[in-house]
């Protein structure tokens, strides 16, 4: 049978380290080494059969016929593991010159004829398997000795790392690949930042992503939302800084932070009102007036906005408009005791 009988890789190694088989050499050259047949036991009856073959050739044939089936294809051809296809073809030719039945034409071979035919067949089988690059490679993997397996596993891991690097390099160099990958990356990072309440970071990533891929509606809306929340956070921070400064009676710094907070979140009247109040305290009536008007514009239905405007107008001596603004404030928010007090004073100017 020509089935693939594989040897234990450990055996294979032992045989390989035992050196090349010298079977291809004609007898007489160099003589027979003691370890040449690896302790193979010859049957004396076989050795003494009456045939036209000398004793060395008999030994060789008996040994090969008995052992070759268990060898790897490379061993059968007397080659090291993983020898190339062309080496296999060359080795086959050399061996065929020795063992092809034609080489023994006209000689009495007796029981040695089927053995020779088996050897030749085994050689042919080995050559056929190894001269095709695909089957050779598959066979090499199947028969790899352990240290080769280890080496090739190492190579595989190394290969994975290299593949990753290669992909990254490709992403860098290929604009198409890089764009898509980059957008994904930004979106992921943005979502993560948003979850962690780092809205400024999130907004930046979403915004970049939406700029790279304008069709991505999700990026746009997420960017908008994150930006708002980022601004709100920033404004609150600044406002808190401003309050802290005010407590320390550092009105200039408080004013600066408060204005920054108002700028950061322009839609939020609280900050504007606060800016106006600070300005009023510092006597910067013009600034206070502008801010107070802005607060009313932003939040026309907010009592405190009208209250601050009324106070600023009162400070500027415009008691008529001031009274109107304060009345409006009280109309909107009944709880504004400061406004009521100021209004009363305005009505009864002698109370001042």
């Amino acid at each position: 049978m020509m089935g693939d009988r594989l040897v234990d890789p450990a055996d294979a190694r032992a045989l390989h380290s035992g050196g090349r088989l010298t079977a291809g050499r004609s007898p007489g050259e160099g003589g027979v080494k003691a370890d040449r047949y690896q302790g193979f036991l010859f049957n004396p009856a076989d050795l003494s059969e009456d045939v036209d073959l000398d004793i060395d050739r008999r030994r060789e044939i008996l040994y090969l016929a008995a052992c070759m089936d268990g060898w790897t294809h490379w061993q059968a051809l007397g080659l090291r593991w993983n020898a190339t296809a062309s080496e296999a073809r060359d080795a086959y030719r050399e061996k065929a010159k020795v063992f092809h039945p034609d080489r023994f034409q006209g000689r009495r071979l007796g029981a040695f004829r089927p053995r020779l035919e088996r050897i030749f067949r085994r050689l042919t089988e080995a050559r056929d398997a190894l001269s095709d690059e695909t089957s050779r490679a598959a066979y090499a993997r199947k028969t790899a000795p352990p240290e080769e397996v280890a080496r090739s596993t190492a190579r595989t891991i190394e290969g994975d790392v290299r593949a990753k690097e290669r992909r990254a390099r490709l992403a860098r160099t290929n604009p198409m690949v890089s764009r898509v990958a980059r957008v994904h990356e930004l979106m992921d990072r943005g979502r993560k930042a948003r979850e962690e309440q780092r809205f400024a970071d999130a907004a930046r990533d979403f915004l970049t992503a939406s700029a790279m891929d304008p069709t991505l509606a999700e990026a746009r809306s997420l960017a908008e939302e994150s930006r708002k929340r980022a601004n709100a956070g920033k404004a609150r921070d600044l406002w808190e800084k401003a309050l802290a400064a005010e407590l320390q009676h550092d009105l200039d710094r408080a004013q600066m932070h408060a204005e920054a907070a108002a700028d950061a979140e322009p839609g939020e009247p609280r900050y504007v009102i606060y800016v106006a109040r600070l300005a009023l305290q510092r006597g910067a009536l013009q600034t206070a007036r502008g801010r107070a008007e802005a607060a009313v514009r932003i939040a026309p239905s907010l009592g405190t906005a009208h209250e601050i405007l009324g106070e600023v107008l009162a400070a500027q001596g415009e008691s008529g408009p001031a009274r109107k603004a304060l009345e409006r404030a009280l109309e909107l928010d009944d709880g504004l005791d400061g406004a009521r007090e100021r209004l009363r004073k305005l009505r009864w100017s002698f109370l001042r």
Partner: protein
């Protein structure tokens, strides 16, 4: 082994055969006793019952077409009823009948049936006789070539023919491989070679990897029914058709003699057109005019263009096969280092052009594309019989077609795939499919189809006497082997008991052993005596002619020697040889005559040299 035992290589062709040998390490063609290197593969039985072979048979073919067998190679090993045989029956002038078993073919010649191997054997025997005349002694060992694409039956048939001819067929080798061997002889080749062999009846392509004196065949392809004969037939059909148009529907196909003349003329014109662009076909009195009208002649011009037009599809087919074979070999056109053209048909410029185009290189041709195959066979015979240290040549050939068996459903299961290096073998495990089944029938087939019926049935055998057991329990290991000749053998073994069963695949398209023996006995006496007598007569006539020439020259030689200071003993020696030759003729001793022949020739040459005369050499009696 006797170092001096002569051996021959024979190219048994469809139209011509050649015999060669190796002398002092040099391969050479053996000329026939009439001095020609090509012997037509033609056998005839003359009106008086004499068997004629070669030139003699070919010469009388026109007048005796229905008893003249040519192109036997196209029939050897084929089954009665196969398309090739049906086609041959239409085109061949001699009658074909089924053999006694109804499955092989016999030819009717002179009122007697001949098995096809028997016809080939007559050609082989003729070549053997030529070789024996050349060596002056018996020749038995021969290597015979066959087309690479021949199947088992065809190879077996060829081997049988050799046996009938009294030859020990040392090996059957493939023609393209043989050609490559001859081409590479004495060269240090290290390359891939494509051999394109378009002969008289068969077409072969082989891709070889040659190196270190090993001729390693990678793949073969071909068509055993495509060759010069088909080219000839296109010309014949064209002539017949146009003749019928010209002469109110005279159908030349009804006239065997006319057809034979057409066949010869068509072949000649085709050969001529390899050198010229136009050939005249002139056949006077080809058909007798009906109703007492005057006989009609055929007179036509065939141009090379017309020939190429008529045969374009045949040329295309060769290229298709070549392409497929390259693919099988897994070799690209660019990797081919040499393209070798073999066979007479490759002389046709259109064929060369097509090959040049396909392979993109100038094809190589030996000096004699008809002889190269025989030379290769001789080299292989030499390598097998007298292996020489350091000059080993080894052929590693492959099996051309898938070998397999028929399996359930009429399908074909491959056991040994084509292009497997031979010798090879493969085992196959059969099991019983019914309870208590005691016999298994196995059909062995060869071919490329998935369906069993579309392949060539090599034979059937029955394994019986199996143990009676539950189905699937009995396992029989059948091993198939293909020898270096490409011939299939089968043996079987019961896996459990180890009992061997020897089986023979009786070829369905060949001779049975009994028939073989009968033919051998029948032919042997006749051929032996006939040849002995024939040889003796020929040699005697020749010897007489040489003797008279020597004696004619003798006075002048003596005269010139009288003035010379040397060579006096030449005359004495010559007289001695002449005396012995006369003695042999008187006693009718063929062996002694052969022994003295060479010395006689040398004496004559010496005499001629001495007189410096312009006397002509010995005339061949024929």
């Amino acid at each position: 082994m006797n170092e001096n035992e002569p051996f021959i290589g024979i190219d048994l062709g469809t139209t011509n055969s050649v015999v060669a040998t190796v002398i002092d390490g040099v391969p050479r063609v053996i000329a026939s006793r009439t001095g020609q290197t090509l012997t037509p593969s033609v056998v005839a039985v003359s009106r008086n019952g004499k068997r004629l072979v070669g030139h003699m048979a070919k010469r009388q073919a026109i007048t005796n077409a229905e008893n003249t067998a040519h192109a036997a190679k196209r029939l050897i090993g084929r089954r009665w009823g196969s398309p090739e045989v049906e086609d041959a029956r239409k085109s061949l002038p001699y009658e074909l009948v089924p053999g006694p078993e109804g499955n092989d073919i016999r030819a009717m010649l002179g009122g007697r049936t001949f098995a096809i191997p028997e016809i080939s054997a007559l050609v082989l025997a003729e070549l053997k006789a030529d070789a024996e005349a050349f060596f002056g002694r018996r020749v038995t060992k021969a290597v015979i070539t066959v087309p690479a694409y021949f199947n088992d039956g065809q190879r077996q048939g060829t081997k049988d023919a050799g046996r009938i001819a009294g030859l020990e067929v040392v090996r059957i080798i493939n023609e393209p491989t043989s050609a490559a061997l001859a081409y590479g002889f004495g060269k240090q080749m290290e390359k891939k070679v494509a051999v394109i062999d378009l002969g008289g009846g068969t077409f072969d392509v082989s891709i070889l990897d040659v190196g270190k004196s090993v001729y390693d065949v990678i793949a073969v392809g071909g068509d055993t029914y495509l060759g010069g004969e088909d080219f000839d037939r296109r010309v014949i059909d064209w002539l017949v058709f146009s003749f019928a148009q010209e002469h109110q529907g005279i159908d030349l196909r009804q006239d065997k003699m006319a057809m034979q003349r057409l066949r010869d003329a068509a072949e000649r014109a085709k050969i001529e057109l390899s050198e010229t662009s136009q050939a005249a076909i002139h056949l006077p009195f080809l058909a007798s005019g009906s109703d007492g009208k005057a006989a009609v002649h055929l007179d036509r011009q065939l141009t090379r263009d017309k020939l190429e037009e008529l045969t374009q599809d045949l040329v295309d087919k060769t290229i298709q096969v070549a392409d497929r074979t390259l693919r099988d070999a897994g070799v690209r056109v660019g990797q081919i280092g040499e393209v070798l053209l073999v066979g007479g048909m490759t002389r046709m410029p259109r064929v060369q052009q097509a090959v040049r185009q396909h392979f993109g290189r100038e094809p190589s041709r030996g000096v004699h594309p008809e002889e190269v195959v025989a030379l290769g066979a001789a080299i292989q015979a030499h390598a097998l019989l007298h292996p020489q240290k350091g000059k080993e040549v080894l052929l590693l050939d492959v099996t051309p077609q898938n070998l397999g068996i028929m399996v359930v459903g009429g399908y074909f299961s491959t056991v040994i795939p084509r292009n497997t290096t031979v010798p090879t073998s493969q085992s196959h495990l059969f099991t019983t499919v019914q309870d208590s089944q005691t016999s298994v029938r196995i059909a062995v087939l060869q071919g490329g189809s998935d369906k069993a019926v579309e392949n060539e049935l090599l034979g059937e055998f029955v394994l019986d006497g199996l143990r009676s057991a539950q189905r699937g329990e009995v396992e029989i290991e059948v091993s198939f082997d293909i020898s270096a000749d490409g011939i299939v053998g089968v043996s079987a073994r019961d896996s459990a008991t180890g009992a061997r069963q020897s089986i023979t695949v009786t070829a369905t398209s060949g001779l049975t052993e009994a028939e073989m023996r009968r033919i051998l006995e029948e032919n042997m006496d006749e051929m032996l005596t006939r040849r002995q007598v024939g040889d003796f007569e020929r040699l005697r006539d020749r010897t007489r002619a040489v003797i008279s020439e020597i004696e004619g020259l003798s006075p002048r030689v003596k005269e010139s020697l009288a003035r010379s200071r040397f060579g006096k003993d030449a005359v004495v020696k010559a007289e001695d040889v002449v005396g012995r030759a006369r003695d042999a003729i008187e006693k009718g001793d063929l062996q002694q005559m052969i022994a003295v022949e060479e010395q006689l020739d040398r004496a004559l040459q010496l005499f001629k040299g001495l007189v410096g005369g312009a006397a002509s050499g010995p005339k061949d009696p024929s």
